[in-house]
């Protein structure tokens, strides 16, 4: 691991940097509280744009993710949306997936160097997000048009009927399925977390379309996975002294406000809104990563691209990433305002 001296590891923070981190933390928290993940991917490049070294940015970001996920999952548990058992099983399998992901990354790094590794990450981003994001988006549009209650995917129903030992029952998610179908969902979540740092982009759709959970339960349970994985990752980073606690706490100041607003938002809107927000963010982020690919192709000598073009594409890529988060936040807040509170609906009192 690249050990940096303290002088270069921790930057001087000014007011504009603090405000930027607070706002991005809030919007990221809002999105995470609503769809279970995906709110933190802007923060690592965002912190790096302030001059924070890459490893410190990753470590400090991860250290804010797990307390945010904890607060969000407690909030959504109170609404009866979290299946802790399902979350813990998937987190355990995701832990194995992370190790596999790291091995693949190291293999590619040894084979093609840093540019090859970066290209692999970008290609994974684009392929996974376009495929899964399209499935989620198409399903969301269908659900929005039909205006009916959310139906369990036919694939999930077929898998639930297969009695393959050991069968596991998840009461809150209201499903019974073989552990052997849980395993690939968890592994893929961890693999993606190790590759693109947003495992939930596979974890949540996996829970919906393979296991048969509702979007509400899937997005809420993803917060449990994020907490377990984030805590383990943060301990690892903290042992190497890479966490800038000031950055973590500034982001946390915004994200703890956002994550609870996002969690409250899930009780306001129809379930297909979770899929619409998730699908929109995934497709825009895929586009953003697409803009970053020429840089790595150029470094590998597979494409002729000037430095000025690379610099411009980097800015466009980051702008699209921020845009995806803003789009998600606007859809969430817009749908909350539209839905408002039906006059006759009972009010939930929470501690």
């Amino acid at each position: 691991m690249d050990m940096l001296s303290e002088a270069t590891r921790f930057i001087q923070l000014d007011a504009s940097g603090i405000i930027f981190l607070f706002i991005v933390g809030f919007i990221g928290g809002l999105v995470s509280g609503f769809i279970g993940s995906g709110g933190a991917f802007v923060l690592t490049p965002g912190m790096m744009s302030l001059g924070v070294p890459g490893t410190v940015a990753v470590a400090s970001n991860m250290c804010h993710k797990f307390p945010k996920a904890l607060v969000g999952s407690i909030k959504r548990y109170r609404y009866g949306q979290v299946d802790i058992k399902l979350g813990l099983y998937l987190a355990a399998f995701a832990g194995v997936g992370v190790q596999i992901g790291i091995k693949i990354q190291n293999f590619i790094l040894g084979l093609w160097g840093q540019a090859g590794s970066d290209l692999y990450v970008s290609v994974s981003f684009v392929v996974v997000l376009v495929v899964v994001g399209s499935i989620v988006m198409v399903d969301a549009i269908k659900s929005a048009r039909s205006c009916s209650e959310e139906q369990v995917c036919s694939l999930a129903l077929r898998l639930q009927k297969i009695e393959l030992w050991p069968m596991l029952t998840f009461k809150k998610a209201n499903l019974r399925i073989s552990m052997w179908f849980l395993l690939p969902v968890g592994l893929a979540t961890g693999l993606l977390a190790a590759t693109i740092a947003v495992g939930g982009f596979v974890g949540v759709p996996g829970m919906i379309y393979i296991l048969g959970a509702t979007s509400l339960v899937a997005s809420a349970t993803e917060l449990v996975i994020a907490f377990v994985m984030g805590l383990a990752g943060s301990i690892n980073w903290a042992m190497h002294g890479m966490i800038d606690i000031r950055l973590t706490l500034i982001i946390l100041a915004g994200s703890l406000l956002g994550v609870q607003l996002g969690a409250i938002g899930t009780t306001f809107v129809k379930e297909h809104m979770i899929k619409i927000v998730m699908g929109s963010i995934m497709l825009i982020v895929a586009l953003s990563r697409g803009f970053a690919m020429p840089k790595y192709l150029g470094k590998l000598g597979l494409m002729d691209v000037s430095e000025a073009t690379v610099a411009l594409l980097d800015k466009v890529s980051f702008a699209f990433m921020v845009f995806s988060l803003v789009v998600g936040a606007v859809i969430i807040l817009g749908s909350m305002i539209r839905a408002k509170r039906p006059a006759a609906a009972p009010v939930a009192q929470e501690a």
Partner: protein, 99 residues
């Protein structure tokens, strides 16, 4: 988006002050916090314990703030799957022992 009943102003004030005090302490002692966290090893516990403490104090403040502002959950109905796969009936012959 409006809350019914009494608003928890006392709780908001208490946790709000706690949150401000914690952030002021971090600002005041940021150098010690950073250098100690940077040591790693046994000092791992410092950043982890710090974020747990902030989660509790600032998290409670944030939740109470939304409550006071009238942004509270609409309902708490547990989400259930629309259709559940029927449990397959075991049709295999059952071995019995007659003593």
């Amino acid at each position: 988006m409006h809350a019914k009943g009494k608003k928890p102003m006392g709780k908001l004030l208490l946790y709000g002050l706690g949150s401000v005090a914690l952030y002021a302490a971090v600002y005041q002692f940021q150098d010690i916090l950073l250098t100690t966290s940077a040591r790693g090893g046994a000092y791992t516990v410092l950043p982890i314990a710090t974020v747990f403490l902030f989660s509790w104090i600032h998290g409670t403040f944030a939740g109470t703030l939304w409550e006071v502002l009238g942004v509270t959950a609409v309902h708490k109905a547990p989400a259930k799957t629309a259709v559940q796969a029927p449990v397959r009936k075991d049709t295999r012959p059952r071995a019995t022992v007659n003593a």
